[in-house]
């Protein structure tokens, strides 16, 4: 990459003094942003910093309250509801906009089907799809059904869709959240290739290392205000993080406390198998934080759901404090003090249209039942306590979960799981899609719970998280536990070696 040409690259899309308010609450304050032809521009900021709003405004999904947008130097009003695609401005959403029962070719041409004499020209559309997919180096069959694709392949189809529409500006909102490392590398190669051909990308992500690896320039927003725009080359992860939170990130992870080697083993899993998980065995001691690392799709969540009784197992034993837990019985696991916290807080964790109280006590209503009826005072007291304990910050105590920020939702979910007073807590992706400040808080909560004598299993795709929190790390690959690391062995390189299949532990 040549910085000179970047400097002279003409500005494609520009935001000048953009402000935006939603029902009286201002979320963007006179923000400036410019995107040059052929650059990858990272847009960074904590949750609630205004990134998504700015992206929506620059792609026409929202109109600014004041300020102007310039396309090729000329002021424009972007048409709403994705009609800006006609101007070459495409947004790749975090949640895919693909109809599951269409084929890849049908998806690519959805809404702009090519016809000959009034009949769909399927041959042409298939050929064109093939051409675009080849351009991306993607080997997916043009006739494959979307429902048969992996998540990474769906992401590729979304990108192919953007390219086939002659996109000049592509917004990508957390595109790597669901991708494995290999898939991410592949995606980045394609993005760079397109960048070199003149396409501009806006890359929204929480992953600092990826931003540094991929992007040319970084713009940081904080609390709806523009903070800095700078070439990525002069920044490092630490400095971007500092710009985002506006404070020193001295202790993202709390100090580790090793449990005594002779502490009681509270959870023992013996050669557990499901449809996908094969012969998994591990144990957890009292007060221990055990990490589970591995690629997306390596079977971690499936294993944990089987341990928690949310999924039935084909064979194997789960014992909690010496008592066997029957297969596929959530209640039995709960009664013995094991709780599972899902990684999917929006679809499986919280009732988005319900208030905090209803969410908090859903799993533990027995504690608030008096003579068969629910006691609202006792529930309100529980909420007050949980808000203080987990620092859940909301203006209105009766707000529905949907309106809360990702970080507060995650804290509420943690509070909800803790209401059942579990002794063993499995936390799947403790900090997915939340900002650095809240991450730090959650790490401290987890550490405090462990010091309290509870045992915690942290399943995470973010390696620094597992390394920073856990005293022991199990690595999974293709449904098997391929390695268990302890102490100084715990490092990114070592975990990668196991996760990528370069190394496995000697058969026990």
């Amino acid at each position: 990459m040549n910085p000179e040409t970047l400097e002279t690259g003409s500005v494609v899309l520009e935001a000048r003094r953009i402000s935006k308010s939603f029902s009286g609450v201002q979320v963007l304050f006179s923000v400036n942003f410019e995107l040059r032809a052929g650059e990858i521009h990272a847009l960074m900021g904590e949750n609630g910093a205004g990134k998504s709003t700015l992206v929506k405004i620059l792609s026409g999904f929202e109109q600014p309250s004041s300020g102007e947008i310039l396309l090729d130097g000329k002021p424009v009003t972007l048409p709403p509801n994705g009609a800006a695609e006609a101007l070459g401005i495409v947004i790749i959403h975090q949640e895919f906009n693909l109809a599951e029962h269409l084929t890849v070719a049908e998806s690519l041409f959805l809404g702009r089907e090519v016809t000959r004499f009034g009949v769909l020209d399927r041959k042409y559309m298939r050929a064109e799809t093939r051409r675009v997919l080849d351009l991306l180096g993607c080997r997916v069959d043009a006739n494959a059904l979307i429902s048969s694709l992996s998540i990474a392949e769906k992401q590729m189809v979304e990108i192919a869709k953007a390219i086939s529409r002659d996109a000049r500006v592509v917004f990508m909102d957390e595109p790597t959240a669901v991708l494995s490392r290999e898939e991410t590398n592949f995606l980045f190669r394609q993005v760079r290739k397109l960048r070199d051909q003149g396409t501009s990308f806006v890359f929204v992500s929480h992953k600092l290392d990826e931003v540094i690896e991929l992007t040319d320039r970084v713009t940081v927003l904080r609390d709806g205000q523009w903070v800095k725009t700078a070439p990525t080359a002069i920044l490092d992860g630490e400095s971007i993080a500092q710009l985002m939170v506006g404070r020193e990130m001295s202790s993202l992870y709390p100090a580790k406390t090793e449990p005594d080697v002779d502490e009681e083993i509270v959870l023992r899993v013996d050669s557990l198998s499901t449809d996908y998980v094969k012969d998994a065995s591990f144990e957890v001691r009292k007060g221990e934080i055990l990490g589970f690392s591995g690629m997306i799709g390596s079977g971690r969540t499936e294993l944990m759901e089987a341990v928690a009784g949310l999924r039935s197992r084909l064979s194997g034993e789960v014992t909690i404090r010496g008592e066997a837990v029957p297969s596929g019985d959530v209640h039995a696991a709960n009664r013995r003090g094991l709780a599972y916290m899902t990684k999917d807080r929006k679809a499986k964790g919280l009732l988005l249209n319900s208030v905090m109280t209803a969410n908090l006590t859903l799993q533990s209503l027995d504690q608030h039942t008096r003579l068969g009826y629910l006691d609202p005072t006792s529930e309100a007291a529980a909420l007050g306590k949980a808000r203080r304990r987990f620092d859940i910050r909301v203006r209105d105590g009766d707000v529905v979960a949907r309106r809360m920020s990702g970080g507060n939702q995650q804290k509420l979910l943690l509070a909800k799981v803790m209401e059942t007073e579990p002794e063993i807590i499995i936390i799947d992706e403790p900090t997915r899609g939340i900002d650095v400040g809240t991450k730090q808080q959650i790490y401290h909560f987890i550490s405090a719970l462990a010091r309290d004598g509870r045992s915690i299993i942290v399943v995470s795709s973010e390696m620094p998280e597992v390394i920073g929190l856990c005293t022991r790390v199990a690595v999974m690959r293709e449904g098997r536990i391929v390695g268990v690391l302890e102490g100084d062995e715990i490092s990114e390189q070592e975990i990668m070696r196991y996760a990528a299949g370069l190394k496995r532990m000697a058969a026990a």
């Binding site: 859903l362 910050r393 909301v394």
Partner: protein, 336 residues
Amino acid sequence: MSVNEESIQSTSHRRTWRDVDLRAVAPFAALALLLIVGAIVNPNFIGLNNLANVATRCAFIAIIAVGATFVISAGDLDLSVGSMVAFVASLMILFMNSGAIADPTLMLTAAVVFAVAAGAACGLANGLITTVGRIEPFIATLGTMGIYRGLTTWLSQGGAITLREPEIQELYRPAYFGSILGVPVPIAIILAVTAVAAFILYRTRYGRHVVAVGSNSDVARYSGIAVNRVRTIAFVIQGLCVAIAVLLYVPRLGSTSATTGILWELQAITAVVVGGTALKGGAGRVWGTICGAFILELVGNIMLLSNFISEYLIGAMQGAIIIIAMLVQRSLVRKS
């Protein structure tokens, strides 16, 4: 960690009229509007006698709709309730006609227990087919709707089933035509059923679980709620409500036929939706449902008392009401 300014105001938040949930208030506002319209159309309308009559006549639908509120809140649907009324009522009359027990009081008591059990069993069947059989509730209850109706036709051999014992008839009559402390029995029963239902839905663990399942069954499952049991029990509650409606229906006419309760499922679902319960589940409003049932009957009554709309259009009017109610619901959601 710096303290966010958001946390400071949290305790000082005051409720204003703006916070009132429009969806909860809308059915009652509509009811008030209808009363005014009715009073203008015909001065006899607003009389206590007329209104008590309307309330009495809406009893069947109201009580069935209370059950439907549970099923719909849990995210399901029961189309079989109209047929179930005909089937359970037929069984109850046949039981009383069988003469198995000589003493009329004892016989009637046994018949009541029998009808309640039959209703619960029909509901249980719907619930198990839906949950254990994993069949869409729409299809499952479309099937049982045909089955219960067909069994009724078969039991009655295409004709009517009539209560024959005059002694039992005499004994049973007050259950519909009598009154308690000046309140007609059907109205008292509506109020009692609704109060119990509201208590269950709003103040018990089970009620919270119903709403959670209807709101998002995955969240419910991950929270350790036995989703299928909650849904099945909702269908059983629906069956019990149908049985209670039957207990009021039988003394009124003392007879059933293959056409008993036709289209009652439509009216019950309409009452639930007009009352503000979301058809996609997750929010139940029991008192709104009663209000909805009353509105349906009231509209018919106003059409009957007025000269400018034919009462033959009542069915069309009720059909229109459900569509209007959905449109109003949606616009209120958008605003809030």
